[in-house]
Each structure stands twice: as structure tokens, then as C-alpha cells.
């Protein structure tokens, strides 16, 4: 599904050069739930951004379904992000000017889906995360857990093959965190969605199929588990 080969990411300023990722080789299988752990600044989010085509690697290759995607033009990258990938962020990144329904419809707008179809799909996605009663609310009228559920609905509304989740429970209390984690596990186990999740929470990571540990921009350890719903 996703194959990263000899991936390097270097951040350069006029006075300093920081190696964020070094010689990363990683393959994510279709239908897999992979979690990535490591201390802050070890390159987890950078790796996820590069996998999600939100950032460019300094060198190395990214294959998505066997196709190299690192150097595609902006419009093509946007199309892939729209069709194949769904994103969930720690800070939700919902658009404050749009209500819940409009936020969830967003990926479908860029896919040029008709208004009626968009609404139908968005309501179905909100139903899936248990938020169909809040469609007219604005993000600032929701709790953190509700916002993250809206973000998940937005990520899944276009039925992407891969969901990239960057610390999706990082801003939530343990109860809310569990709820969000269960939704992700269901998506993986029931819908077969491939999920790559960055997390600081060991117990959540161990619920996924495979855990990769990162340190100083390098992959240092891999553990496999039987994915489980709590």
C-alpha cells in the first residue's frame, strides 16, 4: 500500500541543519493498523506528513500502490490526498467558519460531488461517529471529543483507503481517548481501512497490529500485536 525507501528529511535554516528522518524504510500493508511511537521531536509527525504528501522528503522514495508520488505536481498530489488519504490531527483543524456538516463535506467539495450526495455521505459519516444530532453546530460549540469525532467523520467521508492520524487522542481525556480509539479500530476491522497512527499512548498503540518505535529520526524497534477493541 505505502512503501518508503531510504527516506531522509533535513530541515535547513541559514545557520543550522536538523536531520528529522534518516534512512527510513517502511512498508504499510493494505488493511493494516500501524502505530508509531517515540519521544517528542523524533520525527513521527514528519514521517506521517511525508506519507500523507503534506511535506516533501529531502531524498528517498514514496510508493503509493506501487506508484512513485514524491515529485508529482501540486494538482496531482491534491487529487491523491483527496481520493486515497484521510487525515486526523491532534488539534482537529476543523474550519471554525463552517458548521459540522459543512466541515465533513469538505473533501467531497474538492471531489466535485453534488450537494445532495455530499449531504447524504456526510450525514452517514457523522452517524458512524455518533454525531448526527450536531450537524448545525460550529466547532467552538463542541467538546474536544466531539470535535475529534467530526474530524474523523471528515476523514472517512470520502472512504479513503488510508487514514493518517497524528496523535488523535492527544488532546482528550482517557474516556474520550478510548472512544476515539474504538472508532478507529472499528474502521480498521470492519471497513478494512488502513490506518497509520502517531501516538504517545502505549496502551493504545498496543491495540494496533504493529507498533514502530522511533528515536532521533530513525526506526529503532518493531512490535506486533493482535488488534483489539476495548
Amino acid at each position: 500500500m505505502i512503501k518508503l525507501t531510504n527516506l531522509e528529511k533535513v530541515y535547513r535554516t541559514s545557520s543550522i541543519q536538523t536531520l528529522a528522518l534518516h534512512n527510513v524504510n517502511l512498508e504499510v500493508e493494505k488493511g493494516e493498523f500501524l502505530s508509531i511511537m517515540g519521544p517528542s521531536g523524533c520525527g513521527k509527525s514528519t514521517l506521517l506528513n511525508i506519507m500523507g504528501l503534506l511535506d516533501n522528503p529531502t531524498s528517498g522514495q514514496i510508493l503509493l500502490d506501487g506508484h512513485a508520488v514524491a515529485n508529482l505536481p501540486d494538482r496531482e498530489l491534491a487529487r491523491i490526498r483527496n481520493r486515497k488519504l484521510g487525515f486526523i490531527f491532534q488539534s482537529y483543524h476543523l474550519i471554525p467558519d463552517l458548521n459540522v456538516l459543512d466541515n465533513v463535506e469538505l473533501p467531497l467539495i474538492y471531489r466535485k460531488v453534488s450537494g445532495a450526495e455530499r449531504k447524504k455521505l456526510a450525514l452517514a459519516a457523522l452517524e458512524k461517529v455518533g454525531l448526527s444530532a450536531r450537524t448545525k453546530h460550529y466547532p467552538n460549540q463542541l467538546s474536544g471529543g466531539q470535535r475529534q469525532r467530526v474530524a474523523i467523520a471528515r476523514a472517512i467521508v470520502g472512504q479513503p483507503e488510508v487514514i493518517l492520524a497524528d496523535e488523535p487522542t492527544g488532546n482528550l481525556d482517557s474516556v474520550m481517548g478510548e472512544e476515539i480509539m474504538n472508532i478507529l479500530l472499528q474502521l480498521n476491522q470492519q471497513d478494512g481501512t488502513t490506518i497509520v497512527m502517531v501516538t504517545h499512548d502505549e496502551s493504545q498503540a498496543k491495540k494496533t497490529g504493529r507498533l514502530i518505535r522511533f528515536f532521533d529520526g530513525q526506526q529503532v524497534n518493531t512490535e506486533t500485536y493482535a488488534a483489539q477493541l476495548s
Binding site: G52, D74, L94, I95, D97
Partner: protein, 411 residues
């Protein structure tokens, strides 16, 4: 897609009320001022009754004598010059000679009023299309016979006769009595070729035919068959000027006068010269520069606001990119937002301009001034608004769209 951009634009504007107010304030006020100024300009120089057919008319309003010591004497033309030289031109289809307005006093009951008096020939009523409220213009025969007839303006008629009809009645100006043959709609004083309260036959001018000088107090309007034939009149006029007998040749070396377009008749004196430069281009360039700088003020302000909002909207930009927005679609979105804002500004500006014009008209600080928003000005205003939108939106939108998604999501 465009519908979604519009929906988003309206949502952003409604939810960011302070930003919307600040942005709209500068642009709307600027546009409203431009609309009012344009309306003044149209009022002063545009085609409006009674000065119709300006596109095929030429004006003779200045005569300049250069003396041998390098000095200039400048005034209107004399009736003698117009009658003796200009009347002989063969290229104009019609022509009319008339004096510039001069102030005279009249008594209405025991109340003294000052009036603008204009002497004009009979052709004046044919060349210029006054709106007659009563009666008619005086005839060539009445002029020929120096009959004491007059055409008066509506405001003078109302002062002198109230709501009663004035036609056939007498008005007394100083010691002279005139029979009113017609009443015309008021003309603003800025249209000095036609404005006046009292129009009298040119033969009643005391200096009529006596002044053999070429400097005087008269102007002429020459009408060509069609706009293209004005050049022929100008050519014939220039050739005629070569034949003009210079008065007091020991003192003056040359005489200069031009058959100019309406606007050039104003600009030549201040911005042009006696040769080919009428000054019109200089005027347009100056007005264009001032208008451009004037427009740039709120535009730069809006660019500044938009750029500073880039950081505020970084999260949105990152999220949209993650959801599949290309840089191009983001540019379009932000541009539509800006265009919607400026179109709102345009509508508001038209409202403000309308209010301001009504207030100016009501105050009558310029007598008989009637500023109006016409379709042309409205369209110009909306084009200004779109121009604002594009000018202030393109660069910030491009900058926003260039923001790296990963970077934007970190902010």
C-alpha cells in the same frame, strides 16, 4: 465549486464582522468619493441638456493676443470677430454666438436680485436644446429688429412671477423693460456656455457691432454634420486665423484662437499651448494618477489585512490542502472571498454616494446642481470594486496558497 466558494466567502465575512467592517469602510468610502467626483465631472463636462451633440460640436471661447514684448492679452472673442470671420466658415453645419454671463440687477417688487445675463443670437435656441417650460426662444427677426424680448430661467420666473405664467409679461432690468417670450429650465453655472437667468437678443448688447477689436466677451459653438467632420472645421478655423487682421500691429504680433472640443476649451488655457497640445491628455494623465493613488490607499490596506490574516487562517489552509485542495483552488477561493467583499463594498458605496449626492443637491451649495448616479457611473463603480478585489486579493491569495501544508498545520 464556485457556489461553495461564494458560500464560504459570505460565511467568513459574516463571522469576522470586525475585519469585514474595517475592510469595507476604506473601500466603500473611497468608491463613494470616486462616484461623487465622477458625477461632478459628468455634470461639468458630460453631454447633458441643453448642451447636447457635444461629440460633434466645437467651442470657440478664447482669444489671445501676443504683444511684441512677450506679454499676452487673453479674453473671450468679440462679436465682431465671430461675425466677421467665423460666420464665413463653410464647414460647420450650424453655429451660434453668445456672450459669457454678466451680472445685472433687477427689482422684483422692492427686492433687488442679481441676475446672470447672457446675450445670444437666435441660432442659440436651435443649436442648444433648452427645455422650455413656457413659450419659445426669440427669433432671428426679433434679433434683427433689436426687439426687447427675453427668455428667462425657471428660478428667475419663480422669483418674479411665482406660480403664474410669465410668457407675454414684462420684466424690468435697471431702466429697461423686456417682454418674456419663453421660460427655460435652470442650467448650472458650471456650464457657462449656457447658464443664465436672463437671455437677451445679441442686438441689445450695447457693444454690439461697435467693438471692432477681436478680444471680447463672446464665445461660439460650431456644430459639425458628424463627429468625424470636426477635424475639417478645425482645419478651416486654423486657416482662417492666419487671415485675421491683427489689431494695433505695432503693438501685437499674433492672434491665437482655436475651435476646440468642449473639454479642450477648458484645458488649453491651463495645460495646453497655442499649437497642437490641447492639454486634454495631460488632464487625463493627472486625473488618472490621482485616482490611481487614491484607489491604492484602501487597496494596500486590504492587502495588508489579508496578508496578516494568512497566519490566522494557516490551520484552515493546511486542513484544506490535506482534504485535497490544490494551490490553485485555494487562490480561487481567497480571490472569490475578496471579490465578494469588494462587490458588497461597491453596493454600499453606491448607496453612500447616492446619499451624499442627495445631500449635495439639497444643500444647493452649487446653484442648480443636480448630481445623479447614472448607469455608466454605476458600472464604473462596480468595475472599480472588482478592480479593488483583484488588486487586493491576488497577492495575498497567492501567498496563502504557497504555504506548505505541513508548516501551516503546525502554526
Amino acid at each position: 465549486m464556485l457556489r461553495n466558494y461564494l458560500k464560504m466567502a459570505i460565511k467568513v465575512l459574516l463571522r469576522k464582522k470586525f475585519y469585514t467592517f474595517i475592510s469595507m469602510f476604506g473601500i466603500s468610502i473611497t468608491l463613494a468619493i470616486l462616484l461623487v467626483v465622477t458625477s461632478f465631472w459628468e455634470h461639468a463636462t458630460g453631454e447633458q441638456a441643453p448642451e447636447v451633440n457635444l461629440d460633434r460640436s466645437l467651442v470657440v471661447s478664447r482669444m489671445k493676443l501676443k504683444d511684441k514684448r512677450g506679454g499676452n492679452y487673453m479674453d473671450g472673442a468679440s462679436f465682431y470677430f465671430l461675425d466677421h470671420y467665423v460666420r464665413k466658415l463653410s464647414t460647420p453645419e450650424k453655429m451660434s454666438f453668445y456672450s459669457f454671463p454678466g451680472t445685472v440687477s433687477a427689482f422684483i417688487g422692492d427686492r433687488k436680485v442679481n441676475l446672470d445675463r447672457k446675450f445670444a443670437d437666435a441660432a442659440f435656441w436651435e443649436v442648444l436644446k433648452f427645455k422650455f417650460i413656457e413659450g419659445r426662444g426669440y427669433t432671428a427677426e426679433e434679433v434683427e429688429n433689436s426687439q426687447s424680448v427675453a427668455v428667462i430661467s425657471r428660478s428667475f420666473k419663480e422669483k418674479a412671477f411665482g406660480k403664474e405664467s410669465a410668457a407675454g409679461k414684462e420684466v424690468k432690468i435697471n431702466q429697461d423693460k423686456f417682454r418674456v417670450v419663453g421660460v427655460v429650465e435652470d442650467v448650472s453655472f458650471v456650464r457657462y456656455h449656457t447658464s443664465g437667468d436672463l437671455y437677451l437678443p445679441v442686438s441689445l448688447d450695447k457693444g454690439f457691432q461697435k467693438n471692432k477689436n477681436i478680444l471680447g466677451n463672446y464665445a461660439a459653438m460650431l456644430v459639425a454634420e458628424n463627429p468625424g467632420r470636426r477635424k475639417e472645421i478645425q482645419k478651416e478655423y486654423a486657416a482662417m486665423m492666419q487671415q485675421v487682421e491683427i489689431p494695433e500691429p505695432h503693438k501685437f504680433e499674433s492672434a491665437h484662437s482655436h475651435a476646440d472640443t468642449y473639454l479642450a476649451s477648458y484645458t488649453r488655457t491651463f495645460l495646453g499651448n497655442d499649437e497642437t497640445n490641447t492639454g486634454v491628455n495631460t488632464l487625463y494623465a493627472t486625473i488618472g494618477l490621482i485616482a490611481f493613488l487614491f484607489i491604492m490607499l484602501p487597496t494596500v490596506n486590504l492587502v495588508n489585512i489579508n496578508i496578516s490574516r494568512t497566519m490566522e487562517r494557516a490551520s484552515e489552509i493546511g486542513a484544506r490542502k490535506a482534504m485535497g485542495a490544490s494551490s490553485f483552488s485555494l487562490v480561487l477561493q481567497f480571490l472569490v472571498e475578496n471579490l465578494v467583499l469588494t462587490v458588497f463594498c461597491g453596493v454600499l458605496a453606491v448607496g453612500l454616494a447616492y446619499g451624499a449626492m442627495e445631500a449635495i443637491n439639497a444643500s444647493q451649495f452649487i446653484e442648480h446642481l443636480q448630481l445623479t448616479i447614472n448607469y455608466e457611473i454605476l458600472i464604473k463603480g462596480m468595475l472599480f470594486a472588482l478592480f479593488f478585489g483583484l488588486l487586493s486579493g491576488v497577492y495575498p491569495a497567492w501567498r496563502m496558497s504557497r504555504l506548505q501544508a505541513a508548516e501551516a498545520l503546525k502554526i
